[in-house]
Structures are given as structure tokens and as C-alpha cells.
Amino acid sequence: MEAIEKIKEIAAQAVPAAKIEIINSTPAAQQPALLVDREHIYAVGKFFKEDPRFQMDFCSCVTAVDYLPKADKSGCIEVVYHLYSVAQKQGPIVLKVRAPRELDQCRVPSLTPLWRACEFQEREAYDLYGVKFDGHPDLRRILMWDEFVDHPMRKDYVPPPDYEWEPTPHDDTLQRAVEEGGIMPPTAREELEKAKKK
């Protein structure tokens, strides 16, 4: 496989309108990724799949990452595709695409028409992160039940209050238990009453 700069150049020649950026992995992993804009991710993916130099026919792993907004940069949901080539035994090419975190704007084009492998994995990303994949043939929840409304893997997801059976609640769990009316183990109650009497 060529160096990532070369790959980026080739892809930019093939899809001239696409904005492509290189994102580095950890220094040791040596798996730099190509960040492609939302409008052209499908075209870039199609190019990598069909171009005889790459032949990325195997889409191994699809997932989403939730980046919370920070002081210096805004947050986003990033969808990551890991492409490998079975025909030429090479890879990976990592494609990334970003969408805003707001639920109504969090949409990216689906790559399921290119690789069937994305079908369930994109459904999972929709279920857990709320990313809507345009062009997905069957975008439903896959892991949680259909009536569920939240997207639980988002970093700002708050689970329903439930502190029952916490044997030794402490720190913020204790604080939240008190504030939200959780359940207290009997031994803790006795100790508390002893302390009050003193």
C-alpha cells in the first residue's frame, strides 16, 4: 500500500469536489485516516471499492464515535469505516465522516449500497448514537427495543435513576441517590441513625 499522502492525492484526483483531510492515529498504530465531507463520502467509498489499485471489497468495521464539544472546538459524531481488500490482501484504508451532534441534523449517507457488511453495523450506530444513514434500506433499532427513545452510547446520555441494591453507595453515586430519591440499604440507615443520635 502507498503512503497515506499518496492515497489522498489519488482519491482527490478521482473525486475532485471532495474535501479530504488526513487524521493521524496513535503514533504506534500507523493507521492514518481520511476525513471526507458528508456529500462525497459515497463517491470516495465507491472509488476505493472499484479502483483496481485498491479494490477495497471488504468493509470490516463500521462504528460511530461521539465527540463532546470542548472549549476550543465544537462536538461531532464521527462515523468510521475500516476498509480492507480481500482480492489484494491489503489495507486498511480508514474513512471518517463527521456529522453535527444535534439529532435532527445528524445524518450521513449510507454505504450499505456499496457493502452489505454495513447494514447491521449502521443500524447499530443509529440505535446507539442516533446517526441517520440516508439511503439505508432498513434503518430501525437493532439492539434496544423499538419504544426506546434515547441513544444510550452518546456521552451525554443519562440512565434512568436506579440506585437500589447499591451495597456501599459513595461519592457522587451517594449524592445522586439522595437527590433523586434512591434506595438505601438497611445497614447504612442504622449507621446514619446512630450518627444522628451522637
Partner: protein, 388 residues
């Protein structure tokens, strides 16, 4: 007394528009509690008579939030959770996670540890494949017999696991940079004993099954998966190889010390259930070869890289993806580390059996509902891994 037919109430056929009797399709939900779904998996089937018209897998009944829990704890903290992903193969799960972290952090593993990992992984492959064949035959109606033989062999391997790691199933054995405890000579002798005994069991197993007429009738040309679809749908492991996809990560990535070991990759040509059965038998035979080489070549030395500090373990910011050839297929971990680096910011498992289910409908449509059970058995799913 039987009533004469002439006295019975007469009835008329109501033909449809083309003179054909109108029939209805029937919706059947198989699971989540069903002995042949291998856990809590559901298939919503639409049947026309006995033939399957459509089939939608429904999962999530064992979704126990492995990924979110792992994002809340230190890097090493999720090692015991990986045991519970695919609860047949805790050793290979450990290895996949350790390999991904080593890739991100750039840790070099000592030779002895690599050999120990290969020995453990190949034992796991023996254990998994023999049990899968047992379960598949259980689904075919061979009540108990093959499964009991498989579990007899499994207990021998589990004894070794217990001696090595302290636990039968949930070994929690690998660490970043090596393994937790070294193998003693006694352990190696047990492993050698297993490697010599296992072919005898396999011969017995094959005598029982491979040319069995019932097995041939029920599995050949059933659930055919074409090669192009297998690659496009991301199918990996024995399932892809049964369809003729020459893609074994032990050969392609040459992780660990697989580059130094000699073995062949068996390939099927039709991609039906029988091929998937037989590929597993052949893979077990190759695994025994690998085991014997690894047990012969294992060097002396440290079992864990001495420079790795597991306490307060940190990874520089960035992401990375590490994968191994698990017994069920490509098991990968996609990990993201952020500024602190003490715990994963994102922890994603690429589960082989989840993605192998993508084409379940394509394989089942047109077959009888009884074949669905066998096809599912040949996919080899473990729900802990499908739902995580």
C-alpha cells in the same frame, strides 16, 4: 363408527382468480426462547406452507452494554469483560483486545508469550469448532451424541485452562505485553497430551458424521452462500472460507508468530452447510499441526514484556484498530484514546458472529423452516458477541 363420506357435510373449493386455491402466508417468530437459537436470538419468519419467504433477525436480548462499561474503566479493567463477549473463546477474545491495545501503545511482546498465546488460541479453536459441530448436529436432531463427545473433549481443554489461569471459562489470561502467568512444564505436557489425543477424537467424530447419510441429505446444497456476497457482506472466518474466500488473518496479517508456523488454509467451493461443517473439521486438523509446532518450538524467556507498567497504564491520544482470526471470524477492537489516556474514549468491538448474521435471510429464503435451524447452527453465533 366412521361416518360414510356421502353423509359428510359437502364443501366447495373457492378458487382464486386463476383457478388456484388462495393461501395465506404465516408469520412465525422463532425465539427468543427456543432450543435451536443458541441463546436469546429471534427470527421473524414469513412462511408459505413450510418454505421461508422472508426472515428478519431480531437481536439485542443480550445487549449488556459491554462498550459503555468499558468506556468508564481503565484500559486493563475491560479485560475480564472481553471473556464474556464470546463465552466459548475467552482466550482469543483476550488476545484480540490485548493485540489492539499493543498496537495503539506500540508494545513488543516477548517470544515465549507469543507462543503461549498461539497455543491457547489454537486450543480454543479446537474447543469452539468441536462444540459448534455438536450444537449443529443437536439442531439436526442427533440428540446429544455428538454434543456429549464434544463436551467430553472440551472438559479436557478446560482443565488445562483452569490449571493455567484459575478459571474454567472466564480465563482473563492475557495482559498487554504478554500473559498473566507463565506456563509450567507440567502445563505444556498437558497441552501436548491434548494435541496427541485430539486426532483420535476427530477420527471418531468423522466416522460418526462425515459420510453420514442423514447429515449429507440435510446439509448439502442447503444455505448456499456465494463467494461475492460473502466478501461484500463482510463475512469472515470459517464461514467465508467455506464459500471459497481465501482470507485467513493468520496468513494475511501474520500477527503473533503465525508467520513462523506452517499450516494450510482449507477452502470450500460450494459454500453450503456441509462445507461449513467440513471446513471446521479440517481447521481443527490444521490447528493440531500448529499446536504441535508451537509446543515444539516454544522458547524459554519472560512471559510478559518487563517494561510494560500495567498500573496506571496510559495510551497517547489517537485511535487504532486491531484484529485477529478468532474461531468465529475476524474479531477486531477499534479503540480511541483521548488526552488523559487512562481509559478508552471509544471502545468498539467488531464481532464476527454479529456481521455473519447479515446474510442469514439470503441463505434461508426458499428453504424449509426446518433448514433455517441448521443454517443458523452453521453460522456459529454466540449471543454474547452478537449483542455485546
Amino acid at each position: 363408527m366412521i361416518q360414510p363420506l356421502t353423509d359428510a357435510k359437502p364443501y366447495t373449493l373457492t378458487p382464486g382468480s386463476n383457478g388456484v386455491i388462495e393461501t395465506q402466508t404465516l408469520e412465525v417468530s422463532i425465539g427468543p426462547q427456543h432450543p435451536s437459537t443458541h441463546g436469546v436470538f429471534r427470527m421473524d419468519c414469513v412462511l408459505d406452507g413450510e418454505s421461508v419467504v422472508a426472515l428478519k433477525p431480531v437481536m439485542g436480548y443480550l445487549h449488556r452494554n459491554h462498550e459503555q462499561l468499558a468506556e468508564r474503566m481503565a484500559w486493563l479493567g475491560s479485560m475480564p469483560y472481553t471473556d464474556r463477549l464470546d463465552y466459548f473463546n475467552s482466550m482469543t477474545n483476550n488476545w484480540a483486545y490485548a493485540l489492539a491495545v499493543e498496537k495503539l501503545a506500540g508494545i513488543k511482546v516477548p517470544d515465549r508469550a507469543e507462543y503461549i498465546r498461539v497455543i491457547m488460541a489454537e486450543l480454543t479453536r479446537l474447543l469452539n469448532h468441536s462444540c459448534v459441530i455438536g450444537f449443529m448436529l443437536q439442531d439436526l436432531g442427533a440428540w446429544g451424541t455428538p454434543l456429549l463427545y464434544a463436551f467430553r473433549e472440551r472438559e479436557r481443554i478446560l482443565d488445562l485452562y483452569e490449571a493455567v489461569s484459575g478459571s474454567r471459562m472466564m480465563c482473563n489470561y492475557m495482559r498487554f505485553g504478554g500473559v498473566r502467568v507463565n506456563l509450567t512444564d507440567e502445563n505444556l505436557a498437558t497441552a501436548k497430551d491434548i494435541a496427541t489425543r485430539f486426532p483420535r477424537f476427530l477420527d471418531e467424530f468423522e466416522k460418526l458424521l462425515t459420510n453420514n447419510e442423514v447429515l449429507l441429505a440435510r446439509t448439502q446444497r442447503v444455505g448456499v452462500l456465494p463467494k461475492e456476497l460473502a466478501i461484500n457482506a463482510g463475512i469472515s472466518g470459517p464461514m467465508a472460507r467455506a464459500s471459497g474466500v481465501d482470507y485467513d488473518l493468520r496468513k494475511v496479517d501474520k500477527y503473533g508468530v503465525y508467520g513462523r508456523l506452517e499450516f494450510r488454509v482449507p477452502l470450500g467451493d460450494i459454500g453450503d452447510v456441509y462445507d461449513r461443517y467440513y471446513i471446521r473439521v479440517l481447521e481443527m486438523r490444521e490447528s493440531i499441526k500448529i499446536l504441535q509446532q508451537a509446543l515444539r518450538d516454544i522458547p524459554q524467556g519472560p512471559h510478559i514484556a518487563p517494561e510494560v507498567k500495567l498500573r496506571n497504564f496510559k495510551i497517547p491520544p489517537g485511535d487504532g484498530y486491531g484484529r485477529i482470526e478468532g474461531p468465529k471470524g475476524e474479531l477486531g477492537f477499534y479503540l480511541v484514546s483521548d488526552e488523559g489516556g487512562k481509559q478508552p474514549y471509544r471502545y468498539h468491538v467488531r464481532p464476527p458472529s454479529f456481521i455473519n448474521l447479515t446474510i442469514l435471510e439470503d441463505m434461508c429464503v426458499g428453504h424449509k423452516v426446518a433448514d433455517v435451524v441448521v443454517i443458523l447452527g452453521s453460522v456459529d453465533i454466540v449471543l454474547g458477541e452478537v449483542d455485546r
